[in-house]
Amino acid sequence: MSPAPDASTHGDGSGTQVRHGGSPGRSRGRSRGGDRVMVPDADFTSYYGRPIVKAAPWEHDIAYYLFTGGVAAGSSLLAGGADLTDRPGLRRAGRIGSLVGLLLSIVALVHDLGKPSRFLNMLRVVKLTSPMSVGTWILSLHGPFAGLASAAELVGMLPTRWQRGPVRLLLRLGRPAGLVGAVTAPPVAAYTAVLLADTATPAWHAAHEELPFVFCGSAAAASGGWAMVTAPIAEAGPARTFAVGGAAVELVMAHRMETSMGLAAETLHTGTAGRWMRASKVLTATGAAGALLGGRSRVLSVVSGTALMAGSFCTRMGVYEAGMASARDPKYTVVPQRERVERGEQVRHQG
């Protein structure tokens, strides 16, 4: 038989048609998944093994954005907190993290658009039923303030003789902008989970209960890690706590997510997604441990900070790949729905 039909939809630039020896009749047969999994092979029917729903056309830009968005959100929180608790070093690290995160996010989002020139059409409407529209407005709220705060930070780092005229106004706005940025940061970290979940992609949709927590935890871990790397050890205490808390939430909620996803959970353990997720667990766990124990040593802080960030990145990539894989194999769409129908529990509107 031909290799597992990791075929994406037709005409997909990189996609290959389904090349398996599609029998002329119905391709009732084993799910030709890659490696064996503990879930018993579900016997199901499909149309020559072709996908029923379509994988999102998003390249890896979106996975990167999930990560950079998380870092930006977490960092502006840390910056806000640091500003209030007079930790200039942590504040600076936070605000720079927020700025870098935001800039990378914007680049990733615009680059992934089919028609980048029409990016501003995102602001044409407010679609409450569209997490991406809601997210866009959240970003347009959070972005300027976080950006302003970061700008103030950068200006603050300039030699004092430059700090005259309007620039001084900017410095004064730094704090309030930072606080608004901090308050609007959590939605930035959480909305991306709703964006993925509010699709027909089996793995993402099935994870909608826990994914926000995983993403927020991941944001905290990543931004904490960033601060552990960039902020002075002395001031990085809260960052470490934030990171450890985030990592814990992420690991716990990721596990709960997998148990609640049903068949689609398979995609988190197999294939590329499986590799990413396993890496993320290892990195996040070690990073968190490092944050807990090595609070003192510079080297350990940098290492565990980096590990935490890497772990968060792997989580995002893993969730992205799992979604894609769950859309490409019709099994994940047909089997749960067919079982619902056979149990007589089709989704019907009651009364």
Partner: protein, 305 residues
């Protein structure tokens, strides 16, 4: 905005703000008279200047169009359904003929071979996930209750592609130089023709009127009558698909009469619009966000000053 705005039976046009909208238009596709001629595929491409998909044989019976996508707004599925073999072990021989080999003496048993054909199209759902998630307002509900992409607005974010429970809409990747590359494309139920009272190109062309165009409520009656007639004639496999306003997408504007399970045709057996769970998702995200905020605050409070 009404009670069923996110899920449940609804008149989509009035829900979308039209005051004196015409009756909702749609398709009823009776696959029992479809002869797989693909006139619908060609008529659609000619009217909407949809470019070619690819020139490659797929070996899946007479379907070389693969599936609905940005370059294929109508897709005729072909399923060669071998005779129902009595309890033949469905051993995967690795050879093309899945199931027991055809007995060498064909005369003795009566193989009731079936060649199922069906022209698939966008469902123009009552609750259209693609329309709901579209962040630019490019996908909109027309006054006829159909779901249409506004080519001049779409920026190709691709969200609709992942949201569609039927895998209909797609972002156009090629061919080179096509003006619509990069934006989402799908059946518009010939919105331009409808504004002038004309029939969609595929319905006009369909030789056996397997594709019927008309008012959705009237089509639902016709569909019910047709499936009852077929049952009387002993075609017990006939069933309707998408005509129930209470189903997971609030009933579809394009409904079908199928002769086998939906997944045999590549259709989801129990599709649900993702918007149904959106309130729950936003609630959970709100909790997670709050937790994050609190977590951040706690991170600062507990530390020694």
């Amino acid at each position: 905005m009404g009670p069923n705005s996110l899920f449940g039976p609804l008149d989509p046009a009035s829900d979308a703000g039209y005051t004196d909208a015409p009756k909702r238009k749609g398709f009823f596709t009776d696959t029992s008279v479809c002869i797989g001629c693909k006139a619908c595929e060609v008529a659609c491409k000619e009217w909407n200047d949809v470019p070619e998909n690819a020139f490659e044989m797929l070996g899946t019976s007479y379907d070389n169009s693969h599936s609905l996508n940005a370059n294929q707004w109508r897709h005729v599925a072909f399923i060669e359904k071998p005779a129902a073999k009595p309890s033949a072990p469905s051993v995967d021989l690795g050879m093309p003929a899945v199931g027991a080999p055809v007995s060498d003496v064909p005369q003795d048993e009566k193989p009731d071979f079936q060649w199922l054909m069906s022209s698939d199209v966008c469902k123009h759902c009552t609750h259209a996930a693609c329309l709901d998630v579209c962040p630019t307002g490019s996908l909109f509900r027309s006054e006829f209750g159909t779901v249409v992409v506004q080519d001049d607005i779409c920026n190709g974010c691709g969200y609709c592609v992942a949201a569609c429970p039927y895998g209909v809409i797609d972002r156009r990747r090629g061919p080179e130089g096509d003006p619509k590359v990069g934006i989402a494309q799908k059946c518009t139920l010939c919105y331009d023709r409808l504004t002038d009272g004309q029939r969609p190109a595929c319905a006009a062309a369909c030789p056996t009127e397997s594709i019927q165009y008309g008012d959705v409520d009237e089509l639902r009656e016709r569909a019910t009558a047709r499936v009852e007639l077929l049952h009387e004639r002993g075609v017990m496999d006939a069933r309707l698909y998408g005509n129930d306003p209470d189903d997971g997408v609030g009933g579809t504007g394009a409904m079908f009469l199928l002769l086998d399970e939906p997944e045999v045709y590549g259709l989801p057996p129990d599709p649900v619009v993702t918007t149904k769970d959106l309130p729950r998702m936003f609630t959970r995200a709100g909790m997670a966000g709050t937790a994050l905020l609190i977590g951040a605050a706690l991170s600062f409070v507990r530390r020694r000053p």
